[in-house]
């Protein structure tokens, strides 16, 4: 993202309400994460300290400080999805994507990326599509009423190849 585009985003916020988070969100959407040099640029431009921007980036789960895979698979871990079997979906996805490392923190949050950087797997609190629980989202597309056996066909739409990604 070049300076011109960054300035364009900043100028979209004439009012202070929601400005800083709005700008960071747009960067996250377009770049896929918050790169250090952009944060440095924004700190100067918005006249806030770099550490302030870092604390926002770590406090809010919308932001990531490292690049994500090309396609992001997000499993809803909300109440309706939990009751309808979300944990099973996570287990299946980890196996299919070969990211079975068990480094999940105790609160259940995780962000795992395949070796070829093609997929990232993460969780969300609720998409507000609870009637279709369990739900998962790939990039911006929501898929409802998911059962583990439907997952391979969904992943294939996003370039998943069994031979390439599946863990042993």
């Amino acid at each position: 993202m070049d300076t011109a585009r960054l300035n364009e985003i900043v100028e979209r916020y004439p009012a202070p309400a929601g400005k800083i988070l709005g700008i960071l969100e747009q960067v996250q959407r377009e770049v896929g994460y918050l790169p250090k040099d952009i944060l440095q640029f924004l700190a100067k431009r918005l006249e806030v300290s770099l550490s302030e921007l870092y604390s926002l980036a770590t406090f809010y789960s919308f932001f990531t400080l490292a690049p994500l895979g090309e396609h992001v698979v997000t499993v809803c871990m909300g109440t309706a999805c939990h009751v309808k079997g979300a944990p099973e979906l996570v287990a299946t996805l980890k196996r299919l994507l070969g990211v079975e490392v068990d480094e999940v923190t105790r609160d259940g949050k995780f962000l795992l990326t395949t070796e070829d950087n093609h997929f990232s797997l993460t969780s969300a609190r609720c998409f507000g599509a609870c009637s279709m629980a369990p739900v998962l989202r790939v990039d911006n597309k929501i898929f409802g009423y998911i059962t583990p056996d439907r997952i391979p066909a969904i992943l294939e739409q996003f370039g998943w190849k069994e031979s390439q990604h599946r863990g042993s």
């Binding site: 709005g22 939990h82 105790r106 998409f127 279709m132 629980a133």
Partner: protein
């Protein structure tokens, strides 16, 4: 815009809503789209174009019967509006062929609607006929419902302000600005008995007065659209299906309170709601309904949209305000309340989406009319998202005071595959699990609190015999532990400890002393936490311990 312009806009809207040629409308809220509604829309579009047919194709919001999506409304002039359900793109040809011949495919028909009452404007008369199709009021899912908040949802195009005018939109605002003093507006809201729909149930009119009486040149109003409770999506649909109703409610509130600026704070997980609200704001501005001298009066109002960034605690009002200011969203102790010191230190009134949507009808029909609906001290309706292990899932709007049983069995039709329902969880992570033996409990603020849960924002997650209640308790503590902002120790450390004990219980290594400690910790966290998150976080544990003690006991060491 003046009264004549408003009337003309209504006529223009009616021509779109009730055209003199057939209208086919697809339910396209997030749920409808995910169910394939966008593919159905594209297929219908192609079929109409290929045949060169004379009919309208429109987008509408969601009527709430999410289990039956995608839904398609067919309006043939003079005939009832027929709602088709579980439509796929393969059905498109058959649908347009039938409609072109003045008919609807019976195998897809869910129900027919002859007239619809938008409450704030004249009734919509669709027509009569198709008597072999069940009437809307005879569908068990709809029969117990009373639509006030969702009265337009699924009928009007949320991306077209003209259709909102058609159902009497912005007339309540006109009435408030030209016929009522700000005090009279507040009196009307007080008379209605409306209580905040964001969880705590605080009387809305009284709250407005707190900000109104503050002496300050700048005051703000905020719409809380953070909808943080997992398993709840009422606000999403309210925004996606009828965004102007929120704007109108906020405009009336701003006039009453004396605020000239407002902010809608929406969670980033709701891109479609953000897009439709943004569009609604642009259309309102273009019609002079936002900006200076609205309806030619002295009243001016500006509205901005701010996006959340994925932190549950930002739904709490002081954290939300910090977030709008560009800070990390951590709650601060109250007082001072936002009414005294809110956004940028100025008096601020904050209400939930659904609270704002109730305002236009209260002004239009009067506080007494509203107070006649619902139960003692619990007036009006509430929208619930009925989800989980229940057959008919979706959004349900019923008068406050409706028993849980009605929701779960009459509307929801009970458990899936004949399984027994064990409990419902209400109120999100701050709520509790209510056992089936208490399903006669009326759903109102006081009765839900009395059984250890809360109303919360309206999420109702049904659990059946396959759901482990200890696992459910662990799920919620995991959630609140993760979402704790870490500012106060009882919440930060206490929840971590509870989580450890629950893990021990689930792995079958716990003793009776562990259970006692869990209960004791719950009490301490409730009493000593800084904000509502910690003060209510133990509720899922306390209610499962109270009503499902046997499930905990069965895991204890040496129990087997």
């Amino acid at each position: 815009m003046d009264l004549d312009a408003l009337k003309a806009a209504r006529q223009k809207g009616l021509q779109k809503l009730l055209p003199d040629r057939p209208r086919v409308a697809v339910g396209l809220a997030t749920c409808g789209i995910a169910a394939g509604g966008d593919r159905v829309y594209a297929a219908l579009e192609a079929a109409i174009r290929d045949r060169g047919l004379d009919m309208e194709l429109a987008k509408v919001g969601c009527i709430g019967y999410c289990r039956e999506e995608p839904l398609v409304n067919i309006q043939i002039p003079g005939k009832p509006c027929v709602i088709l359900h579980r439509v796929t793109e393969a059905d498109a040809e058959e649908i347009v062929r039938a409609v072109a011949a003045g008919d609807v495919p019976r195998r897809l028909a869910l129900c027919r609607v002859e007239t619809w009452d938008p409450l704030v404007g004249e009734k919509l008369d669709f027509g009569t006929g198709f008597d072999d199709i069940p009437a809307y009021a005879d569908i068990p899912y709809f029969a117990p419902q009373r639509k006030i908040v969702l009265r337009d949802a699924g009928f009007i195009n949320p991306e077209d302000i003209d259709e909102y005018f058609a159902v009497g939109g912005y007339r309540a605002l006109y009435k408030a600005l030209t016929e009522m003093t700000p005090e009279a507006v507040i009196d009307e809201v007080i008379a209605s008995g409306l209580r905040g729909r964001g969880g705590a149930g605080f009387p809305t009119g009284t709250k407005w007065n707190f900000t109104k009486v503050e002496k300050s040149l700048r005051k703000y109003i905020i719409c809380n659209a953070d909808e943080g409770d997992p398993g709840a999506y009422m606000n999403r649909n309210e925004m996606e299906s009828d965004p102007h109703m929120i704007l109108e409610g906020m405009l009336i509130g701003a006039y009453a309170i004396g605020a000239r600026e407002g902010i809608i704070y929406v969670r980033a997980e709701y891109p479609l709601a953000i897009a439709r609200l943004t569009r609604a704001m642009e259309e309102a501005r273009a019609h002079g309904l936002l900006g200076k001298n609205i309806f030619g009066t002295d009243f001016s109002f500006e509205l901005t949209l701010a996006e959340g960034a994925g932190a549950f605690v930002c739904g709490e009002e002081t954290a939300l305000i910090a977030s709008i200011e560009g800070k990390t969203g951590r709650p601060r102790p109250r007082p001072p309340f936002p009414a005294q010191k809110g956004l940028w230190g100025m008096p601020t009134n904050i209400n939930n989406v659904e609270t704002w949507t109730n305002i236009p009808v209260i002004i239009s029909r009067g506080g007494d009319w509203f107070a006649g609906i619902g139960a003692e001290k619990n007036t009006g309706t509430k929208v619930y998202s009925l989800v989980g292990e229940v057959q008919r899932v979706g959004l349900v709007e019923v008068p406050l005071g409706t028993p849980i049983r009605t929701l779960v069995y009459d509307v929801g039709n009970g458990g899936i595959d004949g399984r027994d329902i064990k409990a419902v969880q209400t109120g999100g992570p701050s709520g509790g699990c209510i056992p089936a033996s208490l399903f006669d409990t009326p759903m109102d603020y006081e009765h839900l609190t009395a059984v250890g849960s809360i109303m919360g924002s309206g999420g109702v997650v049904v659990m059946d015999e396959t759901t482990s209640m200890v696992d459910t308790a662990r799920f919620f503590i995991g959630f609140t532990h993760e979402e704790s902002c870490g500012k106060c120790a009882p919440c930060r450390e206490g929840l971590k400890h509870m989580l450890m004990i629950l893990d021990k219980i689930l792995s079958g290594k716990a003793t009776r002393e562990n259970l006692d400690l869990l209960e004791e910790l719950s009490g301490t966290i409730k009493k000593t936490s800084l904000c509502g998150l910690g003060q209510t976080a133990p509720n899922p544990v306390l209610t499962t311990l109270k009503y499902f003690r046997n499930e905990y006991d069965a895991t204890l060491k040496g129990a087997k």
